[in-house]
């Protein structure tokens, strides 16, 4: 009887799904589900934003309430992704969570020598794993309001601070860092996004440090580009590369080959004003194409993630902005038209409103071949009163110097765009997304900042870390039932940089062609796994898999499905 019931229910479910499939419309598919296991996994640490001292303490705190960052990377090469998690308050240690392989983690930051960084003159704000010396061991760059820290991976679970000899000695209020090989010389370079201009906020001499215009500010920190010399040092090439004139309040930086010419281009998301798009000239310089590519904007750009969401072979860009009761900016999903222009399709795709957005990351969470999008949000969740009405006189009083910290009211216990529900936009495969955050179990209301995505238990389903400002870290284990088939590729560069950052993988399977590029830290306050993950849906084989390495080499390889495979440049599949 029970068996008959089961068969009948299966027939019923099949009958329900059949017409949908026949119409060629993406069915509801396996519902994406996550289980939050931060406590159980041993990673439930609370982030602390930097507390300032003196009469401007509250205002400075309000304008710098970030720093909750995560970097995903397998630092010890044991095949399991580990987590570096930043803290930001004075004396507070960072965390290096070693993955024990059973979805539990052990904090080894102190033993490893990477816990420091929040000294009296510096605030940790971002981090990225990257193998700067191509020795096969991921090194760690910690971006700070201050000077950066470069940790060399010594290979025995220990790291050595090599900042002093690295040349990375320039003070900046760095809030975002990516590693990529902009000149394709086989060594990873660094691009820093700087928020404030280079003044020490912790020892403020001049109070005129806040944005000079809230829609078109020109007194921010711009960016700094550091070229890896290949000798263990970096040189500042910002001016030489054509990026020296930028003075926006850069909140995030992202890279990708936007025009399919084999060179890494960049997108800069800026708070209080326009974002910027630069194409790589291939000679160590970039040219600004913002006007043609996207046009100038006045929004509060927070995040850059790059992915081909519609599987048309061109990388698109997702930028979060502020959308709330009092400000209706809308996010920007820049669809790459393939002709040097982008069209914002956030409204059409249903990805416009994610509140006060912070990090957003693409990932195929149900392995159906279409990349979904997780977005975190919320500035400050506190008492019942809102800070927003208090800002009105500051904004509207004629002649008031808004750059002066003294002219901004203290926030006290007020809330500012707080208690916002996170969004998980499931890609429906028809050019639109549906918010499934609630059903997926990720619609929490913490003050989100960063996202790190990776397959932490190597089961082929992408898991996520969500960092929150002044709140606990969340670890979401992907428990989606009946997710599709998958592959994960660990690329090892030989002539190219060892991390293969910038490599493009093209997979044809199940009638869909997908691309991924290995990125070096795209997305605000978080860098994800450098393994390329592809959902394959019901496809049981891959028709073609091509890799275009940063060196220019093209390679066609065959890999098994539902496996993690390592591929070495020029050697194909290798056993690790």
């Amino acid at each position: 009887m029970g068996k008959l019931k089961k068969i009948l229910s299966c027939v019923f479910v099949f009958a329900l799904l059949l017409p949908v499939d026949l119409l060629g419309i993406q069915s509801a598919g396996p519902g994406i589900r996550f289980e939050e296991i931060g406590q159980k996994a041993g990673v439930r640490v609370v982030h602390h934003t930097r507390q300032y001292h003196g009469k401007n303490a509250e205002v400075l705190h309000m304008f710098t309430a970030g720093g909750a960052a995560v970097a995903v990377g397998d630092y010890d090469g044991d095949g399991f992704e580990d987590l570096f998690v930043a803290d930001s308050d004075a004396g507070k240690p960072n965390h290096l969570f070693h993955n024990n392989g059973d979805m539990t983690f052990t904090d080894v930051a102190v033993q490893a020598g990477v816990a420091g960084g929040n000294d009296p003159n510096s605030i940790v704000a971002d981090a990225v794993w990257f193998d700067y010396d191509n020795d096969g061991k991921p090194d760690l760059l910690v971006g700070r309001f201050g000077t950066p820290i470069l940790y060399h991976n010594e290979g025995n679970g220990k790291f050595k601070d090599v900042s002093a000899t690295s040349g990375l000695n320039k003070f900046g209020n760095t809030i975002a860092v990516i590693a990529f090989d902009y000149d394709n010389d086989g060594y990873l370079d660094l691009l820093f996004g700087n928020y404030f201009k280079p003044v020490n906020l912790l020892d403020l001499k001049d109070p005129h440090v806040l944005p000079n215009n809230l829609d078109a500010a020109t007194n921010g920190g711009g960016v700094t580009l550091w070229r890896n010399t290949g000798k263990g040092t970096f040189e500042d090439v910002t001016e030489k590369a054509g990026l020296g004139k930028l003075s926006g309040w850069t909140l995030d930086v992202g890279h990708g080959d936007f025009n399919n010419d084999g060179l890494q281009d960049i997108y800069l998301a800026c708070d209080y004003g326009t974002d910027h798009v630069f194409l790589n000239n291939g000679d160590g310089t970039f040219r600004e194409v913002t006007e043609k590519a996207t046009g100038w904007d006045t929004k509060k750009g927070m995040n850059v993630d790059v992915a081909d969401y519609d599987n048309d072979g061109w990388l698109d860009v997702y930028v979060t902005n502020i959308t709330d009761e009092y400000m209706k900016e809308c996010n920007m999903l820049w669809h790459n038209n393939g002709d040097g222009t982008f069209t914002d399709v956030s409204k059409e795709t249903g990805t416009c409103d994610s509140g006060w957005g912070w990090a957003a990351k693409f990932g195929d969470f149900d392995n159906d071949g279409w990349q979904d999008l997780f977005v975190v949000n919320g500035l400050r969740s506190a008492g019942p009163e809102s800070y927003v009405p208090l800002m009105l006189p500051v904004i509207t009083t004629p002649g008031l110097d808004i750059t002066d910290v003294n002219n901004w009211p203290n926030i006290g216990n007020r809330t500012w765009s707080g208690y916002q529900k996170k969004r998980l936009f499931r890609n429906l495969g028809n050019g639109t997304f549906a918010d499934v955050a609630k059903d997926a179990g990720v619609d929490n209301t913490f003050d989100g900042r960063g996202i790190g995505i990776g397959d932490f238990n190597n089961d082929g389903r992408l898991d996520m870390v969500q960092t929150n400002a002044d709140q606990p870290l969340l670890l979401f284990k992907n428990v989606t039932q009946n997710a599709g088939n998958w592959i994960e590729l660990k690329l090892i560069g030989v002539k190219s940089n060892r991390d293969a950052i910038g490599a493009r993988i093209r997979v044809v399977a199940g009638g869909i062609t997908q691309i991924r590029e290995i990125d070096g830290g795209n997305g605000y306050a978080g860098s994800s796994s450098k393994r390329a993950h592809f959902g394959l849906g019901k496809a049981t084989r891959i028709d073609r898999l091509e890799i275009k390495w940063p060196s220019g080499r093209n390679e066609v390889v065959t890999v098994p499905i539902n496996r993690i495979t390592s591929i070495k440049e020029g050697q194909g599949v290798v056993i690790r």
């Binding site: 829609d215 004003g273 006045t298 502020i322 009761e325 400000m327 900016e329 927003v388 009105l392 904004i395």
Partner: protein, 252 residues
């Protein structure tokens, strides 16, 4: 018969003599502006309209058509600068303050989100000055409606309701005009925004009695809950251009 002709001629001559020269010149400039506008010569049209307004700052038609021409030219900055300058010379012109306010409103859809707040606030300041100089139906309606655009968090909807109630009082005292329907819609929206749904519905119903074919009123009465909310809030989207053309006032 001759006597009659003489009397008419005398009257016309008297009128010509009494009518200020500047006003005559303004009308000529205004006509030049209209002509240029029909020929899509926007910069020329703006110039003539500015001349016309300078000579007759209280002429609502001149100022309105100037702003509409600037909109066609997509020149949002010029009217702001012009009205500011004109107001320095004629600080007590309610018409100039009103149109200066509208010039701010005209720029809102192309401005950044924070600049939108500044423009909206400055517009309110000008509307208030216009009312202080000359409390008119259009002044109260305009300022009242403007208050409603502010998100709830700024607590300005109740001020909008107060203004719109005054506009309603004024329109009830005079002859009925087609544009009076706007106050029924806006005041209902104001009640809705201040959580007085029953009063809102009653206002829209009353409006529908006066203006039975009005689609906006019908829509509001037929909808409830989120659908009603979406309809009303869509009207307060700062990215959408508000129709600030006042020609209805003298055409109806």
């Amino acid at each position: 018969m001759n006597k009659k002709i003489y009397s008419i001629c005398f009257a016309l001559w008297l009128l010509f003599c009494l009518f200020p020269q500047s006003v005559q010149a303004s009308e000529a400039d205004y006509r030049q502006g209209i002509k240029a506008l029909t020929e899509n010569k926007y910069q020329e049209a703006l110039y003539y309209f500015e001349q016309a307004i300078s000579g007759d700052p209280d002429n609502a038609r001149y100022a309105n058509d100037y702003r509409q021409a600037a909109l066609k030219a997509k020149d949002f900055e010029r009217p702001l600068q012009f009205f500011q300058k004109a107001l320095a010379e004629h600080p007590n012109s309610a018409n100039l303050h009103l149109n200066f306010g509208f010039a701010h409103v005209d720029k809102i859809p192309v401005a950044g989100s924070i600049t939108q707040v500044i423009l909206a606030n400055d517009a309110l300041t000008e509307f208030t000055k216009a009312i202080e100089i000359q409390p008119t139906w259009i002044g109260y309606y305009t300022r009242g409606e403007s208050y409603l655009f502010w998100p709830k968090i700024f607590n300005r909807a109740s001020m909008g309701v107060a203004d719109l109630e005054k506009a309603m009082e004024m329109q009830k005292k005079g002859p009925r005009h087609s544009y009076h329907v706007k106050v029924y819609i806006a005041l209902g929206d104001g009640y809705w925004k201040t959580d007085q749904l029953e009063k809102a519905k009653a206002m829209w119903q009353a409006g529908l009695k006066e203006f039975p074919d009005n689609a906006s009123l019908k829509g509001r009465i037929s909808l409830q809950g989120d659908e009603l909310k979406n309809l009303i809030e869509a009207g307060f989207d700062p990215a959408k251009r508000v129709n600030t053309d006042l020609s209805e006032l003298w055409e109806n």
